[in-house]
Symmetry: C2
Subunit: 321 residues, 2 copies
């Protein structure tokens, strides 16, 4: 069986548990920069490492790979995906396969304007996006877009600094206070999450799971319900193939009156992946088969109408023991 290194695991305990369940003879090793990242305690062994921006970070990870005879590696946080992809050759030399996408795709997925430009040029429905407010005002005057719109950072994680905005004054205020902002069309529709695995050997989509996200009031934990639509599956296959993603990805999609809009891609396990796994969509097994040199066949066997509801579990630890 293969040994795998999971980086920056944070609170993603379920993911580590799933890797352990599917790997009875190999090692599952986890890293994090914090001793109070609960997911490290699920692994067979863990390492506390520096922040990913530290000069020695990459060498430390490569050393762990060598020492622990790792066969595969993946990260659970966005800013680390490009770092791994950029250093693919160094991992290749050690015989360590990165479960992830190319450097160019990791970078594109992080930058909402680059993503928009790609989607737009390739003819996919997507939310209109502007990094220059003058271009937005021009479209506003032409009637091509209307308030409300979202103002959000071009790069960076989901919910930080996102504002729903109703007028020019608020846009001027936000753009004067912060750099690196963009304006994005407000899509009114059902939000959908897709968990997709693209075989590392054949480069074919071999697993798709889609769920409707159930929006709750603030602070409420996530809930979602599984569903299938062949039209959506066909769109996902076409998009993923054309863009060239590989490994595990998570796609945010909106259903606007029956038309699917691609909103965002995270080229890693999304926070909602446990829904797929608990419905029998076991992409961890597919990863281990790939690390073992075997190709996977396409399958999307799961039941529709199954709800996932998150709640808080606790991990207890006396440190220094």
């Amino acid at each position: 069986m293969s040994n795998i290194l999971l980086l920056s695991v944070g609170t993603r305990n379920k993911i580590i548990q799933y890797f352990k369940e599917n790997n009875k003879s190999g090692k599952v090793i986890a890293t994090d920069m914090s001793e109070i990242a609960p997911a490290i305690y699920e692994a067979d062994k863990h390492y506390i490492v520096p922040r990913i921006t530290d000069n020695n970070y990459l060498d430390i990870i490569l050393d762990i790979c060598k020492k622990e005879k790792m066969d595969g590696i993946l990260s659970l946080i966005d800013p680390e995906l490009s770092l791994l992809a950029m250093n693919k050759e160094k991992f290749d030399t050690l015989g360590v396969k990165i479960v992830g996408s190319s450097y160019e795709l990791c970078e594109m997925s992080l930058n909402k304007i680059n993503m928009f430009n790609w989607l737009n040029e390739h003819g996919y429905n997507c939310a209109k996006s502007y990094d220059k407010k003058e271009e937005f005002y021009k479209d506003l005057d032409n009637g091509d877009i209307s308030f409300p719109v979202f103002v959000k950072p071009v790069e960076g994680s989901a919910s930080i600094l996102i504002s729903k905005v109703d007028n020019r004054d608020e846009i001027e205020l936000l753009f004067s206070k912060h750099d690196g902002l963009m304006i994005q069309e407000f899509l009114k529709g059902q939000e959908i999450g897709a968990d997709v695995y693209i075989d590392l050997i054949s480069k074919e989509v071999v697993s798709i799971f889609t769920k409707k996200k159930i929006v709750m009031r603030a602070g409420e934990t996530d809930k979602s319900v599984s569903f299938k639509d062949e039209k959506l599956f066909a769109l996902i296959k076409k998009f993923v193939k054309e863009a060239g993603y590989t490994g595990q990805i998570d796609i945010d999609i909106f259903d606007v009156d029956g038309d699917y809009y691609i909103s965002e891609v995270n080229p890693r396990f999304g926070g909602g992946y446990p829904h797929a796994y608990e419905c029998g969509v076991n992409n961890i097994k597919l990863i281990y088969k790939n690390l073992n040199g075997e190709e996977n066949e396409y399958s999307s066997e799961y039941e529709e109408g199954v709800y996932m509801m998150k709640y808080n579990e606790v991990c207890m630890k006396k440190l220094g023991e």
Copy 2:
């Protein structure tokens, strides 16, 4: 063993699990208005009930108590605490004991200005609070308070609509947009949570657990570490006794350069109670003893320096089955 009804359980799965663990022969029954509240599926039996503001709500709860021969009842959400307390006699008639505080204390705890006035009049350290911005401006001009301050709703839950504010313009903007706001001094210090149980029979504090909250970046799940300080325990005992709380309560406290400031009281199980329970502070057992007519003795046996780290567990359900 006693039968207990837990209301509006939402995502509080751990609490239901703890009641089940401590009650092998009695029934644990849960309610919620939603079928996708995962905690209902932990109970021996559950009821889907209307919203608490529904005219029939109280009668439906009383009917469940009668039909299921309940001995005790408690709610896990703030707006329901007063409703139960207000109708204490109706529950008494059915032989159902409310695990909670008096109507007056539930109402006072919900309203941050009333709470401030009480604390201030009784000589406790607490954050200066103003529901009239003119009074705040007066103190600001006198140098009795300075920016930044918090603007938050006088009533209502923790994180909704709370802003950290740096100048008069922002205060004017917020007060012009929303009703029911207040201004609160920004306390710079270590945030502490206390889980306290006050015996329903002797009215004495019989259990205290305190933890330091570890503040993380947005979106990160809660972490905390257990500690003990006799000075803090003495303050908690004095405050709780003087105010007259009963049953389980959760107190937010700030340690500002060695002085303890009381910030907020929730007269129910707080979201961080699993930390106490997992450290052996089993207030559920105390509740069952009280329901059985027995008084509890004071104890605060737990280890310091134990970390609690939350992570997401998932509950899966195909509805309509």
